[in-house]
Symmetry: C4
């Protein structure tokens, strides 16, 4: 869509975007630094000033973006309304709104969660530069394989639920503290099937270990299926791209002219 | 098979199916909730009533399905008998039968195991909707790669058995409690080769660690082989599907008629 | 090689082979059971008798195979000598020889190691039946990708050595017991790069954790490369096989006759 | 580049190269052995003499390589300068320079780090023999997939940062020692997403475990994407190599001339 890309370019100034992304980055860095108790105590004032400044800039940016939305959707009847309900604009709003609602800001923990939306704002990085194309390829592969990936995730969840119930039945009488209920058992199942294996919960009975062994082996398969789907997806998309480059007028195999 | 699909559609009413699947889901949720000791004590009566109601519905459904089996297999001589011995019908029977046999129901643990058959009943979800096609692709890939996958599982079991015996020989004199016998050693081998690595059992001798290192590296290969098989399977099936759609009488690339 | 396959069939009697494989299986089962201390004490006599009987049968089989070696290599000048130095015959000899050398049999541990050669004898299972073909495909893929796989293993060893030395330098002053020397550090590197992660050794310093994080991420790549190689190998071999089935006289793409 | 390869062959004598590589190998072995405290104490003098001898040989080699650089780049104006700033020459210099700077050599730990450059010198092994070709294939795959791999690493880092902040918020109040700040939480995120799972840090709250489960499942995807990219890269490069060999003027399938 070259014309829509041109329109977007009108709306966006590269310098402003780079600046905003840098500010988002700094804002996330400040979240990380504030998590260090001694830093939070010592430089509490600095963090607060930076916070206020950041929110001010983000708010200004948000208002200006709504203002110029008619440049983004020229033919549209209500361009500003359309912009406000767009995914990125909602994220942008959620990242600043809580700071204007004192009753929310009161709870530090909730505030931090809300500020996570700024991370999503960081996704804008992908819009810039030469990586955009590669990201599109990855997203295309995921989109084209989506139903297969969903099915494999569903199979995975089914196996997890099954393992969790069996393991609870087998291990609960021996380790009531490790396997108190099916939900706790599900935690074990997920750790095992994804091959993370923290080692905080593991079977000790012979039946449990036998069953866990079978589940671990199934785990390899569980990993192999989505990997296989994605690998085949990339093979197919890359082949598709290459054939795009070939002139379509001749058969790439036997060289016959295609009329 | 469009005609068999049509017949099945006669037998199945989408509304009923959705209701039954919802009930199966609720029934599994009740298994999970009952595993919480405090919930089981407090709402014991509720769970019991729900259980009786569920079994009643499942029994009615089972009888009705046998009743209408002649619609499912019209040309068949003994359609009801054929339905009764079908895989899904056996699962359905196993999911309700134990509740009519008091001497089985007496043992709570065994009962829970039996109820696991309801999970298999949940597999019906896959029959519905737009994911059926994607599931067929996954099953086709697994079916077509089945001999290769079985061989790779056999190689894997062989490596596991080998590692277990070697590790038992090496580590047993130093850690008799961790490696008391070859079966316990096999547990270590499976945890390592599948890269789960709980950390409950691991070698401490230099020889044992050297051997475990080799085994871990082999583990990558063990995972790589089935993943590679499945990836190649998907590549091949996806390509195959595309060529299925093309009429075989024309070159799929340039459209020339093949004489 | 149909003619070599026919010759082999002359030499081998399916019934005898199945019996021998069953005996090898039982012999390995006996190794496993003997590792249980209480069983070894209680049924020591039974195990001994079974051992002697097994070795007797294996010895008889070995002699008969040498005897009939001329049927296996009909055109050969020294068929028996050729058979004796073949891989499977050496394995067969190693599996029985120690029992005739009393000074070796004296050491139980060494004896158990020697008996591991019987596991390799179990590899004969793959010669039988319908899985032989699938095994050939897997072996072909590994053989064709062997140089690439060796390079990726070498890269992997290089990364391991590098990580081990860095980690020893960083963590040794803080955890001298966990990282006493580079070899111990290498154990950590292997556990991490193969994503096994037992959790017996892990970095605690900030620098160490930062470095371990980089290494873990590299670990994904280390696994991805051989998996990718093998996946591509299977894709290539499966495509090759399919084109084998196609009649070679016509171009499979445009249908032109190949003169 | 056949002509550049010929020039390089003039500069390099296989015997010398093999000797140098062997000396690098011994030098790294000495680093490993010196990490054993008792060996370092007992054979301190031997290690020192070997060190001095090694550095002497490496220095002589470095000077001779500069001397003969005009044979390597015959047409060049300043061949020696060009050689000195080349990647391998800088590595070579870094591997010997510190031993001539007494104030650096004073710090044993820093010295060991510097000596790590010798590991990079070991990379010369790949220049020799029949594996060079296979390494080129692997490097070509990585190079061609590099933008996609970088994007998937960036996505991975994004998911890690996101998980770390969420997990810190959820687990910090319950386990302040395990999740003291976002950086510590990041360590958990990396261990989990790469499926290493040491088990030194793991969530204990229900919310934390639910979140960790989602992250673990995403972890499979995180591994699947680069594996898929590399697998598709190998498939493409291997296919590409085959088509490179085929003359482009004929249909690769039926051999018809393409007009």
């Amino acid at each position: 869509m070259p014309s829509s890309a041109r329109r977007r370019r009108v709306h966006r100034k590269p310098g402003v975007d780079t600046g905003i992304i840098a500010l988002i980055g700094l804002s996330i860095l400040s979240i990380i630094l504030q998590s260090f108790e001694n830093l939070a105590e010592k430089y509490g004032g600095v963090f607060h000033v930076f916070e206020v400044a950041t929110v001010a800039v983000f708010t200004a940016e948000y208002i200006l973006r709504i203002w110029t939305a008619d440049l983004l959707y020229p033919g549209e009847k209500h361009p500003r309304l359309k912009y406000i309900v767009s995914f990125m604009a909602v994220i942008d709003l959620l990242a600043i709104l809580p700071f204007y609602l004192p009753f929310i800001s009161a709870d530090m923990r909730f505030l931090r969660m809300i500020r996570l939306f700024r991370l999503f704002r960081l996704l804008r990085v992908f819009k810039l530069g030469r990586y955009f194309d590669a990201l599109q390829v990855i997203l295309k592969v995921i989109r084209e394989s989506s139903t297969r990936l969903i099915i494999s995730v569903m199979l995975c969840l089914f196996v997890m639920l099954f393992s969790a119930i069996v393991m609870y039945t087998v291990e609960n009488p021996v380790q009531p503290e490790q396997f108190p209920n099916v939900i706790a058992s599900l935690w074990w199942a997920i750790c095992t099937l994804t091959t993370v294996g923290y080692g905080d919960v593991y079977p000790v009975t012979v039946v449990g270990r036998f069953f866990a062994s079978v589940i671990s082996l199934v785990g390899i398969g569980i990993i192999a299926i989505p990997t296989g789907i994605i690998a085949a997806g990339f093979t197919s998309v890359i082949d598709g791209r290459q054939s795009d480059r070939d002139p379509k007028k001749y058969c790439p195999y036997c060289g016959h002219r295609i009329e």
